[in-house]
């Protein structure tokens, strides 16, 4: 079903809005959540919460791009659950590694206009990503949006983990340079 029609179902408060959302985006949401949480029950909980949040927020919201709207919700929910799970422990595993990789290449928005800055930074990152080859762009997004682990990426790209790590490092380094040139300092 077309995204516009699904959104209209939400506006009309028809419950099949959720069924249609799940049918179209369930796999997408589950992939992201399981990559972060590494646990099926927790991932399922986050995905179900995503549907609930979507139901409660549309209307009044009318997202332009339903998929990225849903993606943002499930990523935030999964991150919250991840933090809760590891609140008493030193954070471990692939997701902790992923977060640490990102830390060095993007500045932290700390002003009241935080949300606007997030969008501006994201726009610059998107611009940078468009300058990459499709393979590098996909690699970067699979790692930092979809949260795939290094091993999975190496398998999917039929190359060594070393190659994946070094490619990601180079992309992050060049992203950092790009943001600095745009006046976004680390």
């Amino acid at each position: 079903m077309d995204d516009k029609k699904i959104i209209e179902l939400y506006f009309d408060r028809v419950e099949s809005a959720i069924t249609e959302t799940a049918a179209k985006y369930g796999h997408f949401l589950h992939t992201i959540s399981i990559n972060i949480l590494q646990n099926h029950e927790d991932a399922e909980e986050c995905v179900n919460d995503t549907y609930l949040r979507t139901w409660n927020s549309i209307p009044p919201k009318r997202p332009q791009m339903l998929k990225s709207y849903l993606g943002a919700i499930v990523r935030n929910l999964s991150l919250d659950l991840y933090k809760k799970r590891f609140s008493c422990k030193r954070k471990e595993g692939e997701f902790a590694l992923l977060l640490s990789e990102l830390e060095d290449c993007i500045p932290s928005p700390s002003t009241p206009d935080k949300e606007l800055e997030n969008k501006e930074i994201a726009a610059q990152i998107s611009l940078y990503l468009r300058s990459l080859s499709s393979e590098k762009r996909t690699l970067f997004l699979r790692r930092y949006y979809y949260c795939d682990d290094i091993k999975t990426l190496a398998k999917q790209l039929a190359c060594s983990e070393s190659k994946v790590k070094s490619s990601l490092f180079h992309i992050r380094k060049k992203l950092k340079k790009h943001l600095e040139q745009e006046g976004i300092y680390l």
């Binding site: 332009q64 990523r75 902790a96 590694l97 994201a122 999917q156 070393s162």
Partner: protein, 381 residues
């Protein structure tokens, strides 16, 4: 928290980019060109009864070697007025005739978050007991921590006026409280130290505390010579280390890189921390053929290197120094020799006329033993 904010920024990326990345077209691993080329050569040469022998030794496994494993730790460079100020006592020299060097598996690897993946209590206990013995403490009471991460102390022990700790299986650290006195004429109380002052102190320590450096033939390594700066003032650092010198060139290189004894002094210039290198080198993967320094330099010039320097490699004319070392930080999954090039960075001139020298690494083992060498080590990939 910063990293979480960054994570949330990614929620705002363009939707079409997220969309196109949803599926990766599965790839098949290509047959390495060298195998194809070798197969072709073999096919051609069989006709004349000659086989061209350029294949890697099948007894030596190919290695996954990346500069950026677990984040690519390491110093990016040094500041100095002139490269001649950057000193050390590396036993490797340009006259070195070694053709092979050992590669070791790190038996105590950590993941990117600093958690020990594999761990050997017995090794750690033995290392700590040995160093405690240097200080006259036999059978130290050793405590094991339940946490096995870089922030916690896996192994520790106490003695009178000292605490022994082994954060990770490369060094035993001994904290001396109260600090051991160094006579005033030898003390380095300023943050800055010249080579001569530091060497004099190193000689004094050797004679005053021989029990701390139980080596038959000791090499003093006064290393550093780099500068720190607050923008107004510059100060030069030198550090003291010792390693055992033997008749064996390979062993000297290993001792220099892995088995160093080092000291830290407090603000009054007295000895407060004593560190003994105890890296576990019990698992040798193999003795690998190494390239020459000139061959490594050619690779560097062609863009095959790893570096944390602020600039890409800017040309052969800027190379000021080169040496062979092992990268020994705890993030290494395997311990491999490298050629380390010191390169003047022409863009980085400042800080009261100090120049910056970036560090660039090229694997010293032949590339045919490194998995995906062209893709992993080519800076333009």
């Amino acid at each position: 928290m910063r990293r979480e904010r960054i994570f949330q920024v990614f929620n705002e990326l363009d939707a079409d980019l997220i969309d196109t990345a949803e599926r990766i077209a599965p790839k098949h691993r290509p047959i390495p060109r060298k195998i194809l080329a070798t197969a072709a050569s073999l096919f051609i040469c069989l006709g004349v009864g000659y086989i061209y022998n350029s294949r890697p030794d099948p007894a030596l496994p190919r290695l996954e070697v990346s500069f950026y494993d677990n984040g690519g730790m390491g110093t990016s460079g040094y500041w100095a007025y002139d490269s001649s100020e950057l000193v050390n006592n590396n036993p490797w020299t340009e006259d070195c005739t070694l053709t092979h060097l050992p590669v070791f598996r790190n038996r105590h690897p950590v993941d990117g978050a600093g958690t020990l993946i594999e761990f050997d209590w017995e090794f750690m206990d033995a290392a700590l007991t040995k160093v405690a013995g240097y200080l006259g403490i036999d059978n130290p009471k050793i405590t094991h921590s339940a946490e096995k991460t870089l922030s916690y102390l896996p192994v520790s022990a106490q003695g009178e006026g000292m605490e022994f700790e082994m954060y990770h299986p490369t060094d035993v650290e001994v904290f001396l409280a109260p600090a051991w006195d160094i006579p005033e004429e030898y003390r380095l109380t300023d943050y800055s130290s010249t080579y001569e002052e530091t060497y004099t102190l190193a000689e004094y320590i050797l004679t005053a505390f021989p029990q701390l450096i139980p080596m038959e033939h000791v090499a003093i390594d006064v290393w550093g010579g780099y500068y720190g700066s607050d923008g107004t003032e510059n100060w030069q650092h030198h550090n003291i280390a010792y390693y055992e010198l033997t008749d064996n060139e390979t062993q000297n290189i290993l001792n220099y890189n892995f088995n160093r004894t080092r000291f830290t002094f407090n603000a009054e210039g007295n000895l407060c921390i004593y560190r003994v290198g105890q890296t576990d080198l019990s698992e040798i993967i193999g003795y690998y053929p190494i390239i020459t320094a000139d061959e490594a330099q050619r690779l560097l010039c062609r863009g095959y290197y790893g570096s944390n320097a602020s600039e890409d490699f800017c040309g052969e004319e800027y190379i000021v120094k080169r040496e062979l070392i092992y990268r020994t930080d705890i993030m290494q999954n395997i311990y491999v020799p490298y050629y380390l090039f010191y390169v003047e960075l022409p863009e980085e001139y400042g800080k009261n006329e100090l120049k910056e020298y970036g560090l660039y690494y090229v694997p010293a083992i032949e590339s045919k033993y490194i998995e995906d060498f062209r893709e992993v080590w080519n800076i333009s990939k």
